[in-house]
């Protein structure tokens, strides 16, 4: 490697960056376990500390506290009333939250939704609006208004199962606001600008709302980020969230180690967890996979598919007793001393 490149990366050829990152990550994490469970009394709805780190590293689809931080456009940011209006568009209002009662008649594939008058008034909604929304979202339905009730009939085939799932989905439908956003609050920063924090993440929906600063939209849900902004953004989000959580616990880990982990989780174009279903489970070597978890499964599958293990990795080489391909073992002799003499003689 040239001196120029070496300076650029600041890592020596053959350096076991992964192992070093794991060490740098693992050692302070053990201290975190001790501390997080001792900070009793601080009731916080946001998951932090080791549980959060595990959530990120395991790439959980359903994380415990998804959050969005929404900055507002300049014309909205200084005005509290306007900010509140934007906020109102976020909070989801589910159909079931407005109901007083409902009855399903699966034989005739109809459902009667009895709405609560006061709740409708509170949310500033009319039955007409709701029936319009429902008809726009769900196909093949008829909505008939009767007093404070809405009679819904499934027009297509009299299939009970699909009707039932649709009725359930219908009750969980957000007539107002964004799907998945349970709560939104307006906050003020040190500069006096208002911004919104939501519990729940729906970036695609947030981008459609007027007044949202589209360049400063932030979510801590990696799959939402992946869906809307792509894998690079998700990688940065994972790394930043890890760093943030570590900083909150006063644990300092070099960012390159965290970045490496985020890279390893995302370089394939999708988010992979660090466990046996992700990075570790997708290793090339049979022996490396078998020496981690589910030994028998990997050996049996390898035998069924006639897998070959080229012995390129670290773990398998230690197992059979070969010099590993890392560090000093990375450098191979290009030409023997005797052969060099021959070359010199030819010259």
């Amino acid at each position: 490697m040239s001196a120029k490149n070496e300076k650029k990366f600041n890592v020596v050829y053959g350096e076991a960056v992964g192992a070093v990152a794991a060490h740098s990550f693992g050692e302070p994490s053990t201290q975190m376990v001790l501390r997080t469970f001792h900070s009793a009394g601080i009731a916080s709805s946001v998951v932090t500390g080791l549980p959060r780190i595990l959530e990120l590293v395991d790439a959980r689809k359903k994380q415990q506290s998804p959050l969005m931080t929404i900055r507002l456009d300049k014309s909205y940011a200084k005005n509290y009333e306007k900010a509140k209006q934007v906020k109102a568009q976020f909070e989801e209002v589910l159909v079931k939250s407005l109901l007083e009662n409902f009855t399903e008649d699966l034989k005739n594939v109809t459902m009667v939704l009895e709405f609560d008058k006061e709740k409708l008034a509170q949310s500033d909604l009319t039955l007409k609006f709701i029936s319009g929304k429902l008809q726009a979202k769900f196909e093949n339905i008829d909505a008939e208004q009767e007093g404070h009730s809405l009679k819904i009939k499934y027009k297509s085939k009299k299939e009970m199962k699909s009707a039932r799932t649709m009725f359930v989905n219908m009750r969980n439908f957000a007539v107002k606001g964004l799907q998945g956003i349970k709560k939104a609050t307006v906050q003020q920063d040190d500069d006096g600008e208002f911004y919104i924090i939501t519990s729940g993440s729906n970036m695609a929906g947030a981008l459609d709302i007027e007044g949202v600063d589209k360049e400063h939209l932030y979510s801590n849900d990696m799959f939402d980020v992946l869906k809307v902004y792509g894998i690079e953004a998700a990688r940065n989000m994972i790394a930043n969230e890890l760093k943030k959580t570590m900083d909150e616990e006063n644990v300092s880990v070099g960012f390159r180690h965290i970045g490496l982990l985020a890279d390893a989780m995302t370089y394939g174009g999708s988010i992979k967890s660090a466990g046996r279903h992700g990075i570790a489970g997708n290793k090339a070597s049979v022996f490396a996979r078998a020496s981690y978890e589910e030994t028998v499964k990997h050996f049996v599958n390898a035998s069924v598919f006639g897998e070959r293990d080229p012995l390129k990795g670290v773990s398998e080489n230690i197992l059979i007793g070969k010099q590993i391909n890392v560090g000093t073992g990375r450098i191979k002799l290009a030409i023997k001393k005797e052969d060099l003499k021959k070359v010199d003689a030819e010259k």
Partner: protein, 556 residues
């Protein structure tokens, strides 16, 4: 109304009050002293009452006469009984950090002393006897009640709170060589070995005897040279590791094949008891007896003298432990203007963090006591701290010492006087049974496990220290590939295996025909390869579950 009269609930005695005064009058106290009355008399007369934890909630207890007020209903018999054995076992515990008391108690458990006066007749598996145990200069009511006066477990040592050229960093202590030579902390270690003449089904039996050289597993004449005619070692014999203590022959492990010559000479196997590895000593006592099942048993007790050496552990009754890091010649130790050389140098940094003020108070008190020839009482709450310091100070002054226990010291190595004064006193130190001579272990070569061919683990098996997964990861991270290979292969389970070039299965070398053979394909084109034996085992195991791994080789 809540009546709780559970069997076994814990209760504690209190003195009752009458008209704002203790019912336990000075007259009764006098009578009790002269043994005219006893404790039960007081309980029967309603002077002392037993309360349980729930009753305690509704009474007001005065700690002593001075604290009695209008609402007081009961008085403590003695403030010290509010603590259990743990706290009461140390002296001046009320001056120490509460968290240190369990630690101090733990150290007391581990102390070597005079655990039993009939130790000479006992065959304990392990026992330790201090050569010159002393009574502490500071003791307590509990100490005397427990009968510890008859079972002392330490010695009063002259301790200076001083560093010594960095040799007593952290909890290390420096000892005076002359004091050790005079017998300070010297003790005897006894270990008993037992063996029995077992009977086996089929009428076979073990025999205590000198094993014949024909016995299976005979270890050579020198091993049995100290055994007597009966096969049991003679008393006062010096023995070293591996020496047989009880010669015993047992019938063979497996049933013998019948030889064509009929029943020949019965084969026997050597099953003697040998001295533990790494130990040595003198045979102290031998006992021969019989079990209930009428089989003979032999017990041999080995004695070895343990002189304090670098690495041995000591602790005071105030949870201050330390390991000897250096034994310094007396002439190199610091000495006072009176020519007193301390037995022990303790680093003062051990004190502030642990907040064991009792340790310093003991130093001062025992120093005053040793000058005056008097023992002091360290029962919890029996003294006032400031008054104690004054009392000890006046005694020290009386004998021409600094009233705070500080001494002027001269460096034994340079002869120069130290700038500051050094706090010096006497502390009751216990020698704990963690001694290097029983723990030291080294290995360069040695036994391996049969199954994995990896080195054994543990001291009795002459094992190595495990180079575990975390250590392995550390070497990977450092990139030391050859060191890693040495640890994982060369110094562990390196094995030479013949592998077939054609089918990739493991073969063997036929030394009779002088050719390598592959049992799978029958070929003879094999290559000798060095792999870890664990890998060979893995291949075998995979084969046993119908998976055939084939090894393909590439020449360098």
């Amino acid at each position: 109304m809540h009546i709780n009269a559970d069997k076994g609930r814990v209760r504690k005695p209190y003195i009752l009050m009458e008209n704002g005064k203790s019912k336990f009058t000075p007259e009764l106290r006098e009578k009790l002293k002269t043994r005219e009355i006893d404790f039960n008399y007081l309980v029967r007369r309603g002077i002392i009452e037993y309360l349980d934890a729930e009753e305690e909630e509704n009474v007001e207890v005065a700690i002593d006469e001075a604290h009695i007020n209008k609402s007081t209903t009961h008085m403590e018999v003695d403030p010290a009984i509010m603590f259990g054995l743990t706290v009461n076992s140390s002296v001046y515990p009320e001056f120490n950090n509460a968290g240190r008391h369990p630690v101090a108690w733990n150290f007391m458990k581990q102390s070597q002393g005079l655990y039993s006066t009939n130790f000479n007749d006992r065959y304990d598996a392990r026992s330790y006897i201090l050569f010159y145990p002393q009574l502490p200069l500071i003791d307590s009511i509990t100490y005397r009640t427990l009968g510890l006066e008859r079972h002392p477990q330490g010695q009063n040592m002259v301790v200076a709170l001083s560093t010594y050229y960095g040799y007593n960093m952290k909890d290390a202590v420096v000892f005076n060589k002359a004091a050790v030579d005079r017998g300070l902390g010297r003790s005897a270690f006894f270990r008993s070995y037992a063996d029995e003449e077992m009977r086996y089904p089929g009428g076979q039996q073990d025999h205590f005897t000198l094993p014949p050289p024909t016995a299976e597993g005979y270890r050579g004449e020198h091993v049995y040279s100290r055994l007597g005619e009966d096969g049991i070692i003679e008393p006062e014999m010096d023995v070293k590791e591996g020496d047989a203590l009880v010669g015993k022959i047992s019938p063979p492990r497996f049933l013998e094949e019948q030889t064509s010559f009929g029943i020949g000479e019965e084969k026997v196997r050597d099953n003697s008891v040998e001295l533990r590895s790494g130990e040595q000593g003198t045979v102290d006592r031998v006992m021969l007896s019989e079990t209930i099942g009428a089989t003979r048993i032999a017990k041999v007790r080995i004695r070895s003298i343990k002189i304090p050496e670098i690495g041995d552990k000591f602790a005071s009754r105030q949870s201050q432990k330390g390991v000897i890091s250096m034994i310094v010649n007396q002439e190199d130790m610091p000495y006072t203007k009176d020519g007193i050389v301390p037995d022990m140098l303790l680093n003062p940094i051990g004190l502030p963090n642990r907040m064991t003020y009792g340790h310093m108070l003991e130093m001062l008190g025992a120093k005053a006591g040793s000058l005056k020839g008097k023992k002091f009482d360290g029962t919890p709450f029996s003294n006032n701290g400031a008054a104690l310091v004054d009392e000890f100070g006046s005694i020290l002054k009386e004998y021409g010492f600094d009233e705070f226990g500080d001494e002027e010291f001269y460096d034994g190595r340079t002869g120069r006087k130290f700038k500051g004064k050094i706090f010096t006193g006497v502390v009751y130190y216990q020698r704990l049974w963690h001694m290097v001579s029983l723990k030291l272990q080294v290995r360069s070569r040695g036994p391996v496990q049969i199954l994995t061919r990896q080195p054994t683990e543990g001291k009795p098996r002459k094992g190595g220290l495990k180079f575990g997964e975390m250590e392995r990861e550390a070497l990977i991270g450092y990139g030391a590939s050859l060191l890693l290979k040495e640890r994982m292969l060369d110094q562990s389970d390196k094995a030479s295996v013949w592998i077939c070039r054609d089918c990739g299965d493991i073969g063997y070398y036929d030394y009779i025909k002088n050719v390598a053979v592959c049992p799978l394909c029958g070929g003879s084109s094999l290559e000798e390869v060095e792999i870890s034996y664990a890998f060979k085992l893995l291949i075998d195991e995979l084969k046993s579950m119908h998976i055939l791994p084939r090894v393909r080789m590439k020449s360098d």
